[in-house]
Each structure stands twice: as structure tokens, then as C-alpha cells.
């Protein structure tokens, strides 16, 4: 007799309570629809939330047409999958691990944040949260240190997205005693785990990501979604700058926009140009120069003075002072 109810212990009675009761079968939340039922995807409340997030992605990010299309495709796939489940059509949980390959400042982290919101709206993640880690957070310093560190990172990301930035640093083929390989093995078992609702995103620069995946075929085969982020073109960067400036409650006057455009042309030729991040830094520096200019004006300021970035603020950049090469 197994005592599973309440009651005090009785010395005579047999006492064989299992240490862990068998897990109850997961109850199906949605009622199964009939064979001839019709489902209007556009009326689904999850669709509305996903559409909202996609619209946000569309508005926030300039360009990146390929990425947006891919994200939309994944969202549609999951929506259809959800609809199939409502009809009682069984299918396994889709593998959602992704790789984001793109130059610096092309919006990989931002897309990961939006991806978390989309997956959460569709019920594939319990929380719309992204836990960003780099090699330092995963790889230990001595034998036996790596596994606990990696597991800790996985535990913190549980229920959300584990975003591994510059993932290729995990794998150092030139040093065979490197602990990075151990991280990859632990990640693989965790990614295979059907029950865990963890989604892993590997991110990094395209060429090195390609070598990374080529060197780890096991990893590559478990990441079905490879998304490439292209570098921004010049007009896109100008548009990004406008958005950034507007978001900070500033504006360029006409000359300043010209100046910024020519600044970008010069900046893009430089090594280590990092797309939107460079634009942000340039805007930050023009704000500095604007502040200095305003203080030196030595007269009462009006609202217009405070929000306008002039050509002078842009031309102050050291890029314009260099002799042309």
C-alpha cells in the first residue's frame, strides 16, 4: 500500500512512498479542434503580440532586409506550428538555436532581444530575457572549473535566451588543452535537452563564425537558423544617425546633415569601422562639441540652441583635420 495522502505515520503500516512521484502528463492547455474546424491566424492573440514585436523590429532597425525576412519566416513557422497543435497534430518542439553572423554594430544584440519577445509571445520561452555571455563567463581557469561555470550561465539563462557573443573564442584549435571544447560539449547536451526551454544564440563576425562552425560540425548541425547581418550602406547609416539623434531629442540642421554624411564617408574607409556603433559614438562626440560651443557662447540659450547640432559640431571631428591620404 502506498501512502500518498495525509496522515501520521503508523508503525505497523507499510511505508513505501516513492521519493519522487511520477511526473503527471502535461495537460494540454488548448482544446483540440475538430477536423473540419477553421482557424483564423489573424484573430489569434499570440499573432497580435508577434505582429507588434515585428513592427517594433521594423521601426527600430534600418535596412537589414534579409534579417527581417528571416525573423518573419521563423515567427510564421512557429505560428503555424501553434495552429497545428490546436488541431491536435503532434510535432516535436522545433529547434530554435540560432547563429547571428555579422560585422560589429549591425544590430545582432537588438535582434536577439526582439527574438526573445517573439518566442515568448509564442510560448517557446517562459521569460523574454536575454542573458549575454562571452568566453570569460563560460570557460574556467583550471581543470574542473569550466563545467560549473558553464552550468551556472545556463541556469541563469534558463527559460530565456543564452546569447553567446563572439562565440568563436570558445574554440581555440591551436591550444589542445584549452577548456573551450568542454563548454561546447556541455552546451551540446543542454541544447539537445527537449524539456529545457533554453534557446542558444551564437553571435560573432561572419568569417570567424564560418570557421568556428566548420571546426565543430556537431554544433553546426544543431543550429538550424543561420542569419547573416550585412553591413549598412551609406544612406542607411545616415538614416540611423537621424533616428539616433531624434531619439536623444536633438536634430541636425541642414548643413550638419551634409557634414555628417561626409563624415560617414570618411569614417567608413577607416579600419575598425563598426556600423551603427560608430555612428552612435560620432553622435555622442558631436554632443560633447555642441556642449562646449554652447558654454563658450556666453549668452542666454533658447530651446533651439539646445537641440540643434550644427555643422561646426561635426567638423570638429579629428577625421577632418587629418591630411587627405
Amino acid at each position: 500500500m502506498s501512502r500518498t495522502g495525509f496522515g501520521h505515520y503508523r508503525p505497523g503500516a507499510e511505508d513505501t512512498v516513492p521519493t519522487t512521484a511520477p511526473a503527471e502528463p502535461e495537460e494540454t492547455v488548448e482544446t483540440t479542434l475538430g477536423e473540419d474546424a477553421e482557424l483564423d491566424l489573424s484573430r489569434d492573440e499570440a499573432t497580435a503580440r508577434v505582429e507588434g514585436t515585428l513592427a517594433k523590429l521594423e521601426a527600430e532597425l534600418v535596412g537589414l532586409a534579409a534579417v527581417k525576412r528571416r525573423v518573419r519566416e521563423i515567427a510564421s513557422l512557429l505560428l503555424v506550428d501553434r495552429a497545428r497543435r490546436q488541431f491536435g497534430l503532434a510535432s516535436s518542439r522545433p529547434t530554435l538555436h540560432m547563429s547571428f553572423a555579422g560585422g560589429p554594430g549591425t544590430g545582432k544584440t537588438t535582434v536577439a532581444l526582439r527574438m526573445a519577445e517573439i518566442l515568448h509571445a509564442l510560448g517557446y520561452l517562459r521569460v523574454p530575457r536575454v542573458h549575454t555571455v562571452t568566453r570569460d563567463d563560460l570557460v574556467g581557469q583550471f581543470i574542473g572549473h569550466t563545467a560549473p561555470k558553464t552550468k551556472e550561465a545556463i541556469a541563469r539563462a534558463a527559460g530565456g535566451i543564452l546569447f553567446i557573443d563572439e562565440a568563436y573564442y570558445l574554440f581555440r584549435p591551436e591550444n589542445e588543452r584549452d577548456y573551450g571544447q568542454e563548454v561546447i560539449e556541455i552546451l551540446l547536451t543542454e541544447m539537445e535537452n527537449e524539456r529545457g526551454s533554453l534557446v542558444v544564440i551564437f553571435a560573432g563576425y561572419p568569417d570567424r563564425m564560418a570557421t568556428f562552425f566548420a571546426a565543430n560540425p556537431g554544433l553546426s548541425s544543431r543550429v538550424p537558423h543561420h542569419i547573416g547581418f550585412d553591413d549598412y550602406t551609406h544612406p542607411e547609416l545616415v538614416q540611423i544617425a537621424d533616428l539616433m539623434v531624434a531619439a536623444e531629442n536633438f536634430r541636425f540642421d541642414d548643413e550638419a546633415r551634409e557634414a555628417f554624411s561626409s563624415y560617414l564617408t570618411r569614417r567608413m574607409e577607416r579600419p575598425q569601422f563598426s556600423n551603427a556603433r560608430s555612428v552612435r559614438n560620432a553622435v555622442e562626440r558631436s554632443r560633447l562639441r555642441q556642449a562646449r560651443r554652447l558654454v563658450e557662447l556666453d549668452r542666454p540659450l533658447n530651446r533651439d540652441d539646445l537641440i540643434t547640432l550644427t555643422a561646426e559640431d561635426i567638423y570638429g571631428s579629428s577625421l577632418f583635420n587629418e591630411p587627405n591620404r
Binding site: 512512498v17 516513492p18 512521484a21 503527471e24
Partner: protein
């Protein structure tokens, strides 16, 4: 003897999902959770062996459950409990403590006679699990 120890001890044993829900409750209150185990169910055995360090900065119970399962796998014949510590100033104590595993067979406690000072007769509680342990000292 079924050990009644900690919170929920008079309820049926918790399932993994219920444990996860309780851990989530602790994490929602920002109480770091830790796992401990012992083979000695003596009521005065307050300090159990720690299974790893307390787990800080978690928001989801998955990591705790993974540790519980590792501990269960390593010590299938031990008691395992989960502790939640409230570090708030003014409380700074264990906020929650409950068993998540008990051995298949739970040896009971034994009342033994003990010789006291000046040949006085006292009684002591001894957990049979410790005397049954392999290589245990037999009086």
C-alpha cells in the same frame, strides 16, 4: 520512520514540478537557494553537507532542479533538502527548508540509556542510520 523535517513535511512528498514551483517562490523573493544532504536524520543534526555553493542570481528554477537531480543521483540513499536564505537585514535566516529526497528505507531513531555524572541514568536519542552505516562504531 518517515522523517518529518522542514516545511511541507506533513504533506505528500513533492513532485519535481511542485519543487520547481516552490523554488520559484523563493527566487521571486530574491532568496538564494541551496541544496544540502545527509544520511543522519537525527533532529539535532542541524548542519547538513552542502551540495555546492548556494545559487545566487537565478531567476528560473531550472538550475536548482539540475543541482537537485545531480545530488539525488550521487547520493540516492541520503536525505536531500532545499534551503532558501533570506538575507534581508532584520531577518537574515533560513526562510524555507524542505525535503526533496528521502532514502527508500528510513531507519528510525533509538532511545538509549546513557551513564551520566555520578552514575545518574539519562536517555539519549540515537539515529539508527548512523549505527547501521558501514564501518560505524558499535558500542
Amino acid at each position: 520512520m518517515k522523517l518529518r523535517h522542514g516545511t511541507f513535511s506533513y504533506l505528500p512528498d513533492l513532485t519535481d514540478d511542485e519543487i520547481a514551483a516552490q523554488v520559484r517562490y523563493a527566487l521571486d523573493h530574491a532568496w538564494p537557494v541551496s541544496v544540502e544532504f545527509t544520511d543522519d536524520p537525527h533532529p539535532r543534526n542541524v548542519y547538513w553537507e552542502m551540495w555546492g555553493l548556494p545559487m545566487f542570481d537565478l531567476t528560473e528554477p531550472d538550475g536548482v532542479l539540475a543541482q537537485i537531480n545531480e545530488c539525488r543521483a550521487t547520493f540516492p540513499n541520503s536525505y536531500v533538502r532545499v534551503l532558501a536564505y533570506d538575507a534581508r537585514l532584520g531577518r537574515q535566516t533560513t526562510a524555507m527548508s524542505f525535503l526533496v529526497q528521502r532514502p527508500a528505507r528510513e531507519p528510525d531513531l533509538q532511545l538509549t540509556r546513557v551513564e551520566g555524572e555520578n552514575r545518574t541514568q539519562r536517555y539519549a536519542v540515537q539515529s539508527r542510520a548512523t549505527t547501521e552505516r558501514e564501518g560505524a562504531w558499535q558500542p
